[in-house]
Symmetry: C2
Subunit: 673 residues, 2 copies
């Protein structure tokens, strides 16, 4: 009897999972996969419409699996597959597993792209892949028509279909869905696609089959706002865009915006309106680029520093303007996007990542989510440099974080010839230690300034200024070539030796380029601004190292636009960051934006980040008495006392000779910007 049954069964082996089972001949491959718990996606519920359940037959003998597999072990290309192939394109060798039935033993490969919980490949610079666990999913259903003899509401019959076909129960439904449900059901002739959030709430209903929904991951910086539009079910980044934060008109830096709200009744609300308008503009822009409607955006995740976080939520940031810097909330905020005035799908959901502390925002939380220092063995330092630097230090044993007021110098502001990173901006610099002559490269041109054809190649853009990463290199090279000493003082005596050193008021300046109309020069004030910024950054790092009782770090990750463009060696030369084996110092890319994208695509990551912000120990630089001390010591280049064993292997540091002028900075304390 059992032998007879076996004859009528076929062995199916799924790769790469290795899951296997015997099923009666005629069983659809998708059904076999489901009963074995093999992860195959489907929006249409096995109707051959959505094409998400594609599989590939592995042909040949598989001794390991004890099976000989061939495409003849399956039913021939079916009618739904032909229809789908005509409509959408079906790669050769691919089958729709819902419309393909077992005729014999077979090995079936499930490609990544057909898995629900697949991984999204991140850029090379980035640490790990994103697991895809979308919170919003689509379900195609056929709904029973109304029947007078057994009256029941359209919503109930929709929910019955979702339970019957997708085992979804206990759903709630947004009012707007209820308001449009009846015409949509009738337009779709009782076949509709339903978007369900978190297996709990019906967010949208569309007539017929809809197979893509989108989400927006946004990093709201004080200066710029950047957004990535992703296809939620595949994780693909479909479009990206950025724009200036229009709040700049209320104040360049964060503190001046808090002041604005304190001095002007309704000021905070004005800034809220401004940032929300920008978010809506950005949504329209990326949607246009992706050729979709903003109404197709069903989710948005938002990260930002605490002030931006509060202003997005329309919470007056006044408490963040003074001690004890109390956040309104340090928890994630999960709510309908419309409550933030965002014009996406009417029921789109917003998830605002949690802040860490009054000065350490949701952007830093997102960086942690992208970098996961809590999984690292090596003692890892993560630095996200902006007008404030967010600093995270630790590993799987313990994590500490703080924020340090570096000021806007690293962003090219407050530097006499500073400018945004744009074509024509100097980004790479070398200074000959003998002649003191510089050579440089500008954005938009692959040639160095001393190579033939440079003038021709940069004719269009010109050489317009120095961007953030350029300023680091110039000051570091000025130090390495002896133009400035450890205290940052430009050596006026050198003006006798080089026309690059010129008087500038009561101090001197270094002329890096003459762009025809004006000299681009680095003044003593420029050097001071960078010293103040880097000292604040280093002091913050040092506080965290003290908190952990360590005297060196094993790995450094530089996050943000700044971190992406900088030559890390120069950051160490300048003493922005502590000495470290340069092999283990690299860019983390736009980690805050990546964190926002992870929170968008991987539902489980939200619990992770909510936990991370809880376990990380917060250090408040403003009340740490040793911050000032570390700050003063860090004014020297690279540092008054720290040693640089790793760096010394790579560059030759000038001999240390601190002068009395160092005292001029004593007692100054950077203002939180």
């Amino acid at each position: 009897m059992s032998a007879v049954l076996d004859l009528a069964d076929a062995l199916i082996v799924f790769t790469p999972s290795g899951k296997r089972g015997r099923f009666p001949l005629g069983t659809p491959v998708l059904q076999a996969a489901r009963s074995l718990g093999v992860d195959i996606d489907s929006v249409c519920g096995g109707r051959g419409l959505c094409g998400r359940c594609q599989v590939v037959v592995s042909e040949g003998e598989f001794a390991k699996h004890g099976v000989t597999s061939s495409s003849e072990s399956l039913t021939p290309i079916s009618e739904p597959e032909q229809r789908f192939a005509r409509r959408m394109k079906l790669e050769p060798g691919r089958r729709l597993s819902c419309s393909t039935k077992l005729l014999g033993d077979v090995v079936i490969d499930v490609p990544q792209s057909s898995q629900v919980h697949r991984q999204v490949v991140r850029k090379a610079a980035e640490a790990r892949e994103i697991d895809l666990n979308p919170l919003v999913r689509l379900y195609y259903v056929e709904v029973r028509e109304p029947d007078m003899h057994e009256p029941s509401g359209d919503l109930r019959r929709l929910e019955e279909a979702l339970e019957r076909e997708w085992q979804l129960t206990g759903l709630s439904c947004e009012l707007q869905v209820l308001q449009t449900l009846q015409p949509v059901l009738r337009k779709g002739e009782w076949k509709v696609t339903v978007a369900v959030h978190d297996e709990k709430t019906i967010l949208g209903v569309w007539p017929g089959l809809k197979d893509a929904v989108y989400g927006l991951a946004v990093d709201v910086g004080s200066t710029t706002i950047a957004a990535h539009l992703c296809e939620i079910l595949t994780g693909e980044v479909v479009a990206s865009a950025g724009l200036m934060n229009p709040q700049i008109r209320f104040g360049e830096d964060l503190m001046s915006r808090v002041s604005y709200s304190m001095m002007n009744p309704g000021g905070a609300a004005q800034m809220t309106i401004a940032v929300r308008e920008a978010l809506n503009e950005l949504a329209i822009e990326v949607a246009r680029e992706a050729n979709i409607a903003v109404e197709d955006l069903l989710e948005i995740t938002l990260v930002g520093n605490p002030i931006m976080h509060h202003l997005i939520l329309d919470i007056d940031p006044v408490e963040l303007g003074g001690a004890p810097f109390a956040l309104s909330t340090d928890m994630a905020v999960n709510l309908p996007a419309r409550e933030l005035g965002l014009k996406l799908h009417p029921n789109a959901r917003a998830y605002v990542l949690p802040c860490i502390a009054g000065h350490v925002g949701a952007d830093a939380a997102a960086v942690m989510l992208a970098e996961r220092p809590d999984l690292a063995d090596k003692l890892t330092l993560i630095v996200d440099v902006g007008t404030n630097a967010e600093i995270i230090l630790g590993n799987k044993d313990r994590l500490v974080a703080c924020s340090s007021p570096t000021g806007p110098a690293f962003e090219g502001a407050q530097i006499s010839c500073g400018q945004r990173a744009a074509p024509g901006a100097i980004e790479r610099v070398r200074i000959d230690p003998v002649t003191l002559e510089p050579r440089f490269r500008v954005i938009g041109c692959e040639l160095w300034s001393d190579e033939p054809g440079f003038a021709e190649a940069t004719k269009k853009t010109g050489v317009t200024g120095v961007c953030g990463s350029g300023i680091i290199e110039i000051i570091a090279e000025m130090y390495l070539s002896g133009v400035i000493n450890q205290d940052g003082v430009i050596d006026g005596d050198l003006s006798a030796r080089s026309s690059r050193i010129v008087p500038n008021g009561r101090t001197f300046a270094y002329v890096i380029a003459d762009n025809g109309t004006v000299d681009l020069k680095i003044t003593q004030n420029d050097v001071r601004a960078i010293q103040l910024g880097k000292a604040a950054l280093y002091a913050g790092i040092k506080l965290l190292m003290e908190r952990l009782g360590v005297d060196h770090v094993e790995r450094i990750r530089l996050a943000g636009a700044f971190g992406s463009h900088i030559d890390v060696k120069y950051a160490v030369v300048l003493g922005m960051i502590p000495d470290c084996d340069l092999e283990f110092v690299d860019s983390a890319g736009n980690a805050a934006g990546t964190g926002a994208r992870i929170a968008l695509l991987d539902a489980t990551s939200r619990a992770t980040v909510e936990n991370l912000v809880r376990i990380v120990e917060k250090v408040e630089t403003a009340i740490e008495p040793r911050f000032q001390e570390h700050f003063v010591d860090a004014m020297a280049i690279p540092h008054k006392t720290a040693s640089y064993p790793h760096l010394s292997k790579v560059v030759t540091l000038p001999a240390s000779k601190p002068s009395a002028s160092q005292n001029e900075t004593r007692g100054r304390r950077p203002r939180r910007a």
Copy 2:
């Protein structure tokens, strides 16, 4: 050892629960109650502020409890009690159980008003008491101040306090609360009262102690909207008001409003705006009457027929205008009131009771909740007469429901001398079977028209028309006195005998009063209108009786304004409702409004009504072939074939003599209005 412990303990017995236990001397009475599970309310958490935990000492010997109790078994009046008594008034003999400690054995009585889950006494006419299980509760907490050394958001510290003091965990928080939290905490000096919905969501935060919140129970009728404002924590009705449904300008009856929405693009939305504006007006009116702010309204429950239900929710009722009469939803709708455009507290919650079927609305569901026929032993008929009658029949074994298009005649419309129930309207009538002379009473006067002083007493109001209940009595009395026969035909031959019978076109009329300027008369058309309405009602009832396979009912409840004023005997004489022992026929009062109030005050009732609408079997009169047959039979007065054993004991029914004229109504079918 145990004896020593006993000496230091005191026995406390709580009445009426009888719960008892021994506690160490010095234990606060409230704390003893809590550990015994005795239900005593408290908003302030035992701080002697809110006064909700009042108890009374029972003095004397209680052999049954084995205890001698006296006020000396408790600590003397405490400082908090004195403060409370100065501020709020504390009745003599009452103690605040939080501020009173055990000194010896004692019997403590917990008055109803100090219980959380107390019952609210309903009016005599109404069936049962309302259990108080408010969904929104208030919690007074003291919140830890922010600390830079251990940064945490204000919301987290609020939630910690709610967990520490009230064991509330896993709360979510409305955005608006987050937006106001920081100033409120500081204004209240870290002492605030929190409103929590369903032990899940923080709806509001106020500085200091707040000890009352309010809710609104609203019955949205096609013609009038009525609201009761209740104190949610006590169940007390604080104010009531009603106003005309402004949708009347789009159509008198429901079907003309559906037509309006079909004929006019945006017509449904216009009606939605109109009804929501009326709800906001009503909220302002009752709040003013109760001397509170509309922002103190934290909940609203809404009932209405299916069209009103859909229009309140901004759902186009077009599908309800034709077969198969599909509801958008037959489930309860639970959402923030602001999503309905209601301007109450910004986070007020709305609960819209579920509809039963396309023609049987949330008002009928509310009637079921108020009447609970599912608990009855007796086979109970519930009738709510409006322009449509909602009919429910059954008992604990089985329930059926339908709606029947009675038309507006019972509301005094379509009756030549009909008017609203207002001073001057005839409401009671007797006709002398010999002289055919009428006597009557009008609203606003206790005298009958043939009593001395009637003319004087009604001089101010006059006799202006006949109201809904008056019309029932007149037609029934006309039948009992032989003015009309079983077919409803006014006997013109009687004009020879009485000047009350006068020609009126090709038929006759009965003059009931001459108010000086015009004769108030009942025309043949008036009789027909009532016959059509009552036949539709009876036919609906008959359908339900057939569905249950019964030929009589044991109990009749008449709901709504109509049911409250009618003399039930005449409703049976007229054949509106089937024969029944008159002892078991009575008014259910405004049962729909009561149902809305129950849903407001008793959270558990919501599951009850949601279940009731599921288990009740729906009968669609529009597709029941026997409806027409029952309708024609019911045109006769009281009925063509039914027998009236109970009624015959109370009145003498004229001998049956049907005439050919009955045929004139055959083939007419009432239009759903």
